[in-house]
């Protein structure tokens, strides 16, 4: 039979009385709380009715993994009053009653303030980063990064996760405010307040793991497997650091020092991994091809311009997601001779955004149209729902909106009517393989 068992600490500060009741029930079953070490450690003994009190120590911090000098001083006062400190972690102090006539450790109003402040401080420590990340990432999504995000399932997924996390923090804050008001009202009415519902709260670790697993699968599908290595290194580093701190239980200052060092080390390891990945395959990625190969290109110069064309450089990229796709193509080609008997080189670059969702194409149109200020309406020429064109220095830019796609086109020299028909037919009929 096991002599020891370990359980996760799944109580909030405002569940401190439920926490104490849980410990008492465990003691009644023969499992006596011993210490906090990688969770709560219980030792088997004789069943006993042990009265516990779990207090929220106002001078504790989230960095405390063992009793600090202030905690020990606080414990000395409690011991004189019939409460022996068993162990402490963060702002939790667990006492067992040793004196039969031991009274409450703190006054009700003060206890409520200790719990309330501890809850808000914990919320601040865990909410600021996710909220900031959500605001920044959300801003990027709806502005400069929209075209990158919207067709990239991995980025979209993690954006949703971040937004979900931020919403959860906001919800937690609202819940905390309501709780605080409710308890204050009850205390003002002279009621006795019991903190917690007398049962252990379930953890959300399973949900977190499932979400992360889903994210990894999506990232793997999108070809980001190698890019996840630095993230996995960071996650492994953080986990190892957490386990080390939990087992060794350094002082507050020691804990801070270890975390700073670990953060630096993890950052360094992740950077090294990134460099190694980039060096090992500079042309990495399933979406990029370089060199004079136009396989899969819907349009090249030879399609709309006569002559013996030789490709000199091509580049393309793709981004496919559930909301649509983005494909860009870049072609440089040269002709041995044109009408004047001279060699000529023409540049052609185009991006095709495809989506079943009109609002996405509309938004992209609004973003792209900013670069066409002063441009001419050429919808008639291109037989498009909307079209803008700008010509300058022997080159032309076009922005073309069709029902299911948006096309940006840059070509040198500008297209005449004959070329427009060919180009339009090629680009509007294009459907990517796979």
């Amino acid at each position: 039979m096991k002599d020891r068992k370990r359980c996760a600490i799944l109580f909030r500060y405002r569940d401190c009385d439920a926490f104490a009741k849980y410990l008492r029930r465990q003691s009644a079953e023969g499992w006596h709380f011993k210490e906090f070490k990688l969770g709560m450690v219980f030792e088997r003994g004789e069943p006993e009715d042990v009265v516990y009190a779990v207090e929220v120590f106002p001078k504790g911090t989230e960095m405390d993994v063992k009793p600090e000098p202030e905690t020990e001083e606080y414990a000395a006062y409690c011991e004189a009053a019939g409460w022996q400190l068993v162990d402490s972690i963060r702002r939790f102090c667990v006492f067992r009653r040793t004196g039969e006539d031991a009274g409450p450790i703190t006054e009700p109003e003060e206890r409520f303030q200790n719990i309330r402040k501890a809850e808000w401080r914990e919320w601040l420590g865990t909410a600021v980063s996710p909220l900031l990340l959500a605001v920044l990432w959300g801003w990027a999504f709806f502005t400069i990064g929209f075209r990158q995000y919207i067709f990239n399932d991995t980025l979209l997924f993690f954006l949703l996760v971040v937004m979900g996390g931020a919403l959860q923090r906001v919800w937690n804050a609202a819940s905390l405010l309501l709780w605080s008001r409710r308890v204050k009202r009850r205390l003002s009415g002279g009621e006795t307040v019991v903190y917690g519902r007398g049962r252990r709260r379930g953890g959300s670790w399973l949900g977190f793991i499932l979400v992360m697993a889903a994210g990894l699968l999506i990232a793997h599908k999108d070809g980001y497997t190698q890019a996840l290595i630095p993230a996995l290194i960071a996650a492994a580093g953080i986990l190892c650091c957490g386990i080390f701190i939990s087992l060794k239980r350094p002082s507050r200052a020691g804990n801070e020092g270890i975390q700073y060092l670990a953060a630096f080390g993890i950052f360094l390891a992740a950077m090294v991994a990134i460099v190694v990945i980039l060096i090992s395959d500079p042309d990495r990625g399933p979406h990029f091809t370089k060199g004079p190969d136009a396989t899969g290109f819907p349009l090249i110069q030879a399609d709309y311009s006569e002559g013996e064309w030789e490709l000199t450089y091509t580049d393309s990229g793709t981004s496919d997601g559930v909301l649509g796709s983005m494909r860009y193509f870049y072609v440089t080609a040269g002709r041995n001779e044109d009408g004047n008997g001279e060699d000529s080189t023409e540049l052609l670059s185009y991006t095709i955004y495809q989506s079943r969702h009109a609002w996405i194409l509309d938004r992209l149109w609004r973003q792209e149209a900013k670069h066409f200020a002063g441009g001419d309406d050429c919808a008639g020429q291109w037989r498009a729902a909307c079209a803008l064109c700008c010509e300058e220095d022997g080159a032309a830019q076009y922005l073309l909106r069709y029902e299911d796609r948006l096309i940006t086109l840059w070509m040198e020299p500008p297209a005449d009517d004959g070329k427009i028909d060919v180009i339009r037919e090629k680009l509007t009929a294009y459907e990517p393989e796979g």
């Binding site: 001083e73 606080y74 006062y77 004189a80 450790i105 703190t106 006054e107 003060e110």
Partner: protein, 104 residues
């Protein structure tokens, strides 16, 4: 301002300061308060710890000795003035309440 929280002393505050009119170890203040009040007032250890910290921070009491985790304190001049002011306030309240005896 920080001192406003001590404009009117609560019962536990009053008795803690009374106990510290003589130098006393912090841990023993609980017993002193019980003795002075005839068992009527009990101060929890957590409440006492927090109040001693606040009193020391606002120089209402001062630390006189420290042995390991045990610290001794005594009231300061500022603390005595506050205590005296509170005593006079309570005394006036009792005197004002004498009208109850006359009407009954």
């Amino acid at each position: 301002m920080a001192r406003e929280q001590f404009q009117t002393l609560t019962e536990p505050m009053y008795y803690i300061l009374l106990a510290l009119t003589e130098e006393c170890c912090g841990v023993d203040v609980m017993d002193q308060v019980k003795e002075i009040s005839g068992g009527r007032v009990r101060v929890g250890p957590g409440t006492l710890y927090a109040m001693l910290s606040k009193f020391e921070e606002h120089q209402i009491i001062r630390r006189t000795a420290e042995e390991g985790r045990k610290k001794s304190y005594v009231i300061t001049e500022t603390g005595l003035m506050m205590l005296e002011k509170e005593y006079q306030r309570l005394k006036r309240m009792v005197e004002d309440g004498e009208v109850l005896r006359k009407t009954s």
